[in-house]
Amino acid sequence: MDEFQEILQDFLVESFELIEQLDQDLVELENTPEDLELLNRIFRVAHTVKGASSFLNFDILTRLTHHMEDVLNRARKGELVLTPDIMDIVLRSIDMMKAMLHFIRDNGTDEGSDDIEDIVVKLDAITSGEGDSSDTPSEVPPEPEPKTVPVEEEEEEVDYSDMSEGEIEDEIERLLQMRQDEDKARREAKIEAGEAVLDAPQIIEEVVKEEAPAPKEEPEVEVAQTPSPIVEKKPEPSVTKEVAKAPAKSATSVEQTIRVDVRRLDHLMNLIGELVLGKNRLIKINDDVEERYEGEEFLEELNQVVSIVSLVTTDLQIAVMKTRMLPIGKVFNKFPRMIRDLSRELGKKIELEIGGEETELDKSIVEEIGDPLVHIIRNSCDHGVEPVADRIAKGKSETGTIGLKAYNEGNHIVIEITDDGKGLDANVLKDIAISKGVITEKEADNMGDKEAFTLIFRPGFSTAKTVTNVSGRGVGMDVVKTNIEKLNGIIDIDSEINGYTKIKLKIPLTLAIIQALLVGVQEEYYAIPLASVLETVRISTNEVYTVENRSVMRLRDEVLPLVHLADIFEVDRVFDGAEHTYVVVLGLAESKIGVIVDTLVGQEEIVIKSMGEYLKGMDGVAGATIRGDGGVTLIVDVAALMQMAKSLKAKPAIAQAASVAKVREKPSDYYVMIVDDSKTDRSIMKNALKPLGVTLVEAADGLEALNILKSGEHQFDAMLVDIEMPRMDGYSLAGEIKKYNKYKNLPLIAVTSRTTKADRMRGVEVGMVEYITKPYSPEYLMNVVKRNINLTMEA
């Protein structure tokens, strides 16, 4: 049973692969019906599927493919001209074959799949209806196959049983000859293509090996069917099968590939992700070590190792990514057929031009990109390209052209869909949107042409006057938008009335490891996927306008809605609002937004990690990543952020935190912090201030002082700061403190032995109010402090 399952798996994988190419070939065939090579290729697919399915006991599938084969065989021999009507039926039968293969994959049997009688009759009509002159008994049996066909090898064999041995010999000879010719032709083609040629014997050997199980089981059936001796019969099935299977087998063996379970690749990718994080961490540590041990000899060596590890990790990551890449042609392949069907259905003449089908994309993206493309192309056929009469009236060529092109652009792949149809009319779009209640008139007035084009992606929006089979329900483009958003992609539309419509999809190459822009908001950091970042600009705060309670800014000729990241993520505004601020312009699918952040930190490779079931699906957060310093940084979910921005009202830039005025009744309610690394100095200051009766808190360096301040345990009225201190000196401390809004008015008094003018200047720059030089008299210090904390009471 397991063996059967294995064979079945192989059969399905092979069949699906064959069929993928089939659609395109068939459409091509319609345009060039004389192309014998093409016809042969198609015939072989039908034949291969038939052979294998009969071996696996799929009677219905065998029957269908058998009849298809008949038609194709006749066409191949030039006895039948493939008219579009015949093509329709052939294509339908191929669809049915596909459906049946899917059915087999899901159910393990073809019994109970769709009824094929109808199509079989039609296929027969093609074969027999015009096939009276047919005299090809060796290949095509004249009468339709009876329904109760026993399990047998291939159609030809029924005929063999009637042949004499001499005839059989001839037939084998003929088939062998045919196969050798094919091989030869293929080899020549390969040589032309400049590829390495495998020795012919090797291929045959391989094929025979592959077929090994076949003769084992076959003979028993043969015996039951024919009276001929087994010895004579035995070699035959394998030879005939060889002919049937050869094209497919040799095609794969030349490419030297192995099949790998996608899960293994996913696992590999996860491991690489961890490695990338490790690498980030290593680089960070290297930087720290470099700073601390500047000039040491071992640094050189460490640097080399770190850069090698980092280089190899990057290469490894790219290599693994490549294993997951598929050419986008896999998706594009189905469109020629689709365009053909649509143009017949709509009565238009449409040509499809495909370019860049060899461009590669991550497998997961290839799977997601199919649907949106289908919708866009259907739209182009239905709404874009005009009927023939209209086109002629406009002086355009009869045949409309839809272009489908893919190419790489940095870390992205761009897919361009163009049509030379009637284009989009911004005003018409606006009117429809208003009438359907998608936007208000006021919104419409503020819209530029490009923005108006994006209206087609709004749910419920459709320009079609009636709902047709093809489009008009107003869901298709919404699907496009959602799917592209899911991939962190960007949609760009350009159009000219009666000229063209061009839709550009820009999609990141991979989803697992991404480049991110790290931004700072107050004391927090966030990572924004770089794929969604269009640009960053530095603006002054008075460039931000408020329109209808929303913040906006002018970016070149556009009005860009703005949102403060601190509002989205409810960050406490502890820092003072600076005069200048940074705006990160984000684009996702068709919309744009500006996000105000306080600092831009830089670009880093990040790996998306889930935050577990407990915190899954938090608004605006796509996940978390681990930074080089071991800390966790949240990743912004751009799509969600845009949604949240809509419901946010603009807030006044800085809400002054009304600090609760502390009631001070006695001198000990006043708090003064003494920051000095020398214990002696601290004691001297303490003694000097004792007569004031204020509460004193000590800190040994800047960092400790900052932590005490931030902990908020006491509200300080003044700080005495030494300049020379380990870890954080007095200047840096003052700089840090002044960042905070609420400490803006906290008097900082420098107490130092540095006396030069430059030192004093620097003290003033960072916001020190007084500058006391050591040594000083206790009374002087006391008076300075007293003055600064407005102490009026006497102890």
Partner: protein, 165 residues
């Protein structure tokens, strides 16, 4: 010398004579900790590890008691303040504060506690189900353990790890 020897032998003998408390089937091992003024316990098997407080990152749009997430050797894990979860006022973390990382199935989260007390072995027969008043559907109490001089509250880790917002 012989006294010392005797002591050791006595001790060993004593341990051998007490198989009922070492028989794993009948005994539940608990870890006790303090949050606010009360002592709580959780079954030792639900604890993945106990670590000293490390830096964490705030996650927006979460209730107060979800402090954020932290990095535990490459995994991102939520951090929950049990004080706030139990409705107690937040207080400054002392040096004795710890993160207890608990797991149940695939769910893992860290919980901030004020200090650890001890590991406790309790006979299963000494554990009663949670008193009726506290055994509502969302009860976070698994049961109550009786010891000679006190009563221990055993927390239900499944409920603690359940997202309730």
């Amino acid at each position: 010398m012989s006294d010392k020897m005797k002591n050791i032998i006595d001790n060993q003998k004593k341990q051998q004579d007490e198989p009922d408390i070492t028989n794993l089937d009948d005994v539940m091992q608990l870890v006790g900790f303090v949050v606010g003024d009360e002592e709580y316990t959780v079954p030792i098997l639900t604890i993945q590890e106990i670590i000293k407080p490390i830096e964490y990152t705030r996650v927006p749009q979460t209730p107060d008691y979800v402090l954020g997430v932290f990095n535990l050797r490459g995994s991102v894990i939520p951090l929950i303040d049990l004080r706030m979860k139990f409705g107690l006022p937040s207080a400054k973390q002392t040096d004795e504060a710890r993160y207890i990382v608990m797991k149940s199935g695939d769910e893992v989260a860290g919980f901030v506690i004020d200090r650890l007390t001890e590991a406790i072995r309790l006979k299963k027969s000494d554990i009663d189900p949670a008193p009726d008043t506290a055994s509502g559907e969302k009860s976070i109490i698994e049961g109550v353990g009786k010891q000679a001089d006190r009563i221990l509250t055993i927390l239900k880790v499944d409920t603690l790890l359940e997202r309730d917002f």
